[in-house]
């Protein structure tokens, strides 16, 4: 027998759903099954008004096993990870963490990573930190950087090659 979503003609992706639920359990979080769609998360979602993210819908789609439509969407990248959804959910579900799982899945499946993330990732891989030391403007129109301000040397991996070697092995690791 079957259950088909007639708008996308897709059926539940049971294996993917299991994968996400198991990942949530590994992080000691609540699985999506307990959601009763009260929409408290969406009512308070910081990304909803501006970007139309609906965390409760993400959870519902996960419950139904309609994972691909979320992984392939742009909407999952609008989450600000403010954690209000997890904080206030009466069933202790964390849509924010489900979204992290979906985003990780999108990256792992080879989808293009939006925005700056690629650059940030590259920087971490090669230098160990997110971005290089910047020169900033002051209120009296001068420019200063770390050295100018007399701050000590920045802390970075002392053996970048070894560090990168370790980190790149993680590229294929899933939680």
């Amino acid at each position: 027998m079957s259950i088909t979503d007639l708008t996308s003609m897709s059926e539940a992706q049971i294996a993917l759903r299991k994968e996400i639920n198991e990942r949530l359990i590994r992080l000691q979080e609540e699985i999506s099954d307990y959601c009763y769609q009260c929409a408290k998360c969406t009512s308070g979602c910081e990304a909803h008004k501006l970007l139309e993210l609906e965390p409760h819908k993400m959870v519902a789609l996960l419950k139904r096993g309609l994972i691909d439509e979320m992984v392939n969407s742009d909407i999952i990248w609008t989450c600000m990870s403010c954690f209000k959804c997890r904080e206030r959910c009466p069933q202790k579900i964390a849509p924010v963490d489900i979204l992290f799982a979906l985003k990780n899945m999108a990256v792992a499946s080879g989808k293009q990573i939006p925005g700056n993330y690629t650059a940030m990732l590259q920087s971490v891989l090669s230098t160990g930190i997110l971005q290089e030391i910047k020169s900033v403007s002051t209120s009296d129109n001068k420019t200063k950087n770390r050295d100018d301000l007399g701050l000590p040397e920045i802390s970075k991996p002392t053996d970048p090659a070894k560090f990168m070697g370790m980190l790149s092995k993680l590229a294929v690791e899933k939680v």
């Binding site: 009763y36 009260c38 408290k40 998360c41 969406t42 009512s43 308070g44 409760h56 009466p90």
Partner: protein, 656 residues
């Protein structure tokens, strides 16, 4: 002692016989030492089976019986009766469970039959060592104690009193009435709560069998079913009950008038230090609150106490003291009611940040015509009429962070209030309801819900994340799952419907009575389906919201049920106690007290003898025969009748 044992094997239809070879078992049993006859029948629990056993006992002059059948939980009680009517002591019976513990648990017929043989062997070994036991008798005091004077306590008291039993009704607050006295109208009939409650309260007051003890608390309970000794503290009202006429002049005159936060008004109204809880209070007497009265807290009240001046009956008496009394009862009904979840636990709903965010009970007091605003609906912040009122249901209910249960009455009470508000304020006041599910499960409830749907109310299916006090309005963002749109509601007055929890003082009561509470904090019933008003402690019953949240009709039904259950005990002159209780061989007991620590029924105490030795003693009326004490006893001094070590060890030997 069993020398002539009869073994009766039941087929239980095919439940046993399909996995255990019954005929082989019967043959096997015949060959066991001590067994005189061995029979089988398809349904041993039937009339025919019972007669088979009875006749066999009589004909063969058997002295002990072994029945190999289903679990003793099913028919042990019945079979004891059968054996007794055959002329053998009811406790010279041993049951071998060859159904739940044999045929239902295995799928190999040969092995199952071997196991059944072992079970029967063990049962026979025990039967040889069984001793006749007699049920002891307990006297019953035919009077009852009811703790709690809300509608549950009132109903239970009336039922018991009408049956002819004397009832002591103890109520903590100065008046009967409980939560119903705070309500305006009740759903779904919209009866005036006070109007249906007051006649019952008067009945209690005037009933010759009810001794009403208001402003009193139960402070100690000793004893067991049929014989409880209860210590009651009657708190000082500082008002002479015989002299006070309930005129209320003192309330008007009080120097603290309008300054003391009123609990009855749920904190939304103020009263005097001397007060009448509400106009229809029973008894209609004033009480002085010792925490806010200037005379009682500071020793002086201006140039003189104004209440004393105003009272023509001279009923004020600052020298009054608490009184303690003791009563003896045979059964106890607990009806201590509920509290609302502290609204600050749902901090995001803004209760702490706006006077115009109130609870449903506070709204009920506003609606009530004898409430703090005489029934006028106003915004507490500025006294103006609200233009828009928004309800938030399930505040803290069905919430794993607060109360995981449904409060059961939230939906209906909110719908009821919306109806009353529409009546009072007219149609130009916007009424919004934010709900998760509308649970209108009872008789007439769905009809009521339909009525509200037709009354121009805005229903939003969703739970708001927060309420923001924006100064000139309260703003609520709510995602409505019916239209999949986010709505911004700008409203004047927000009513949150908080979860229902057990009253904080039920903790004390549960300790004093030694009854259990569930994980949710409510008092625990003996069985959720079949014994909803019993507790695990014999003789103590619970009714109403102290057991779990419920509406008034279920409360009344439970109260009558508890009264009936209590009357079962009170109507008997004597009760029989199960004889399979534990007992102490005093010479072997060192008084270590381990048994006392493990006893779940507090049935054991340490007794000091005149020669200075201490030993444990079992109160047979409280003992439920669980055997924990026996297992814990390091010296073997504690034994259980019918399950003595010397009776059980041979069983183990036979099985191994």
């Amino acid at each position: 002692m069993g020398n002539k044992i009869g073994v009766f094997v039941c087929h239980c239809g095919i439940n046993i016989s399909q996995m255990v070879d019954v005929k082989k078992l019967v043959e096997y049993a015949k060959g066991l030492d001590g067994v005189f006859i061995s029979k089988d029948y398809k349904y041993m629990c039937s009339d025919v089976g019972a007669n088979l056993i009875k006749d066999s006992i009589k004909k063969n002059k058997l002295d002990s019986v072994v029945i190999a059948c289903c679990s003793p939980r099913m028919h042990e009680h019945t079979f004891r009766g059968v054996v007794e009517s055959g002329g053998v002591n009811a406790f010279n019976l041993e049951i071998a469970n060859i159904r739940e513990q044999c045929s239902w648990a295995h799928d190999d017929k040969d092995q199952a039959t071997e196991k059944a043989k072992a079970l029967v062997r063990a049962a026979v070994a025990k039967a040889k060592l069984l001793e006749p036991l007699e049920k002891s008798k307990i006297n019953v005091t035919p009077e009852a104690l009811v703790i709690g004077g809300g509608i549950a306590g009132i109903q239970a008291s009336l039922d018991l009193a009408d049956q002819g039993h004397k009832v002591y009704l103890v109520e903590k607050s100065p008046s009967l009435g409980g939560r119903m006295a705070q309500l305006d109208k009740t759903f779904p009939t919209l009866d005036c709560s006070g109007c249906i409650l007051t006649p019952k309260m008067m009945e209690v007051l005037n009933h010759q069998n009810i001794e009403l003890l208001t402003y009193s608390e139960v402070v100690g309970v000793e004893g067991s079913i049929g014989n409880y000794t209860v210590k009651i503290k009657k708190k000082a009202r500082y008002v002479n009950m015989d002299k006070c006429t309930g005129c209320g002049d003192c309330v008007e005159a009080c120097r603290m008038k309008g300054h003391v936060v009123s609990d009855f008004d749920e904190g939304i109204g103020k009263r005097s230090a001397i007060y009448m809880p509400f106009p229809q209070a029973v008894p209609l007497k004033c009480t002085i609150d010792p925490n806010s009265c200037l005379m009682l807290t500071k020793g002086k009240c201006g140039k003189g106490a104004l209440c004393v001046e105003a009272c023509e009956a001279g009923a004020i008496d600052f020298k009054q003291k608490d009184e303690e009394s003791e009563v003896k009862v045979g059964a106890i009904v607990v009806a201590t009611g509920y509290d609302l979840l502290d609204p600050n636990k749902m901090y995001e709903y803004g209760y702490a940040h706006s006077e115009d965010v109130i609870t449903s009970m506070q709204m009920e007091r506003l609606i009530n015509s004898s409430g703090p605003t005489m029934g006028e609906i106003i915004k507490p912040s500025n006294g103006e009429k609200p233009k828009s009122i928004t309800y938030i249901l399930c505040a803290g209910s069905r919430d794993e962070n607060e109360c995981s249960w449904c409060c059961r009455i939230g939906c209906m009470s909110a719908l009821k209030q919306v109806y009353l508000l529409k009546e009072k304020l007219g149609d130009d006041v916007e009424m919004n309801i934010c709900y998760t599910d509308i649970r209108s499960f009872g008789k007439g409830y769905e009809e009521f819900y339909r009525k509200i749907r037709g009354m121009n109310t805005n229903m939003f299916r969703g739970r708001p994340s927060e309420v923001r006090n924006m100064g000139d309005n309260l703003t609520i963002d709510i995602f409505d799952t019916t239209t999949n749109k986010l709505f911004e509601i700008k409203t004047d007055l927000v009513v949150i419907v908080p979860a229902l929890v057990s009253r904080t003082d039920s903790e004390e009561i549960s300790k004093i009575l030694r009854i259990s509470k569930g994980a949710d904090g409510f008092l625990l019933e003996a069985h959720p389906k079949l014994k909803p008003v019993d507790t695990a402690t014999n003789g103590i019953f619970i009714a109403g919201c102290c057991q779990a949240p419920k509406d008034i009709q279920d409360t009344v039904a439970q109260a009558s049920a508890a009264a009936a259950r209590a009357a079962n005990i009170l109507s008997k002159e004597e009760l029989e106690a199960e004889p399979q209780v534990s007992y102490v061989t005093e010479e072997l007991c060192s008084g270590c007290g381990t048994c006392i620590a493990v006893c779940p029924y507090s049935a054991i105490e340490l007794v000091k003898e005149e020669d200075g030795t201490t030993h444990a003693k079992v109160n047979e009326a409280l003992c439920m025969g669980c055997g924990s004490c026996v297992a814990s006893c390091p010296s073997g001094a504690m034994q259980q009748r019918g399950y003595k070590d010397k009776q059980l060890i041979p069983m183990i030997d036979e099985v191994i």
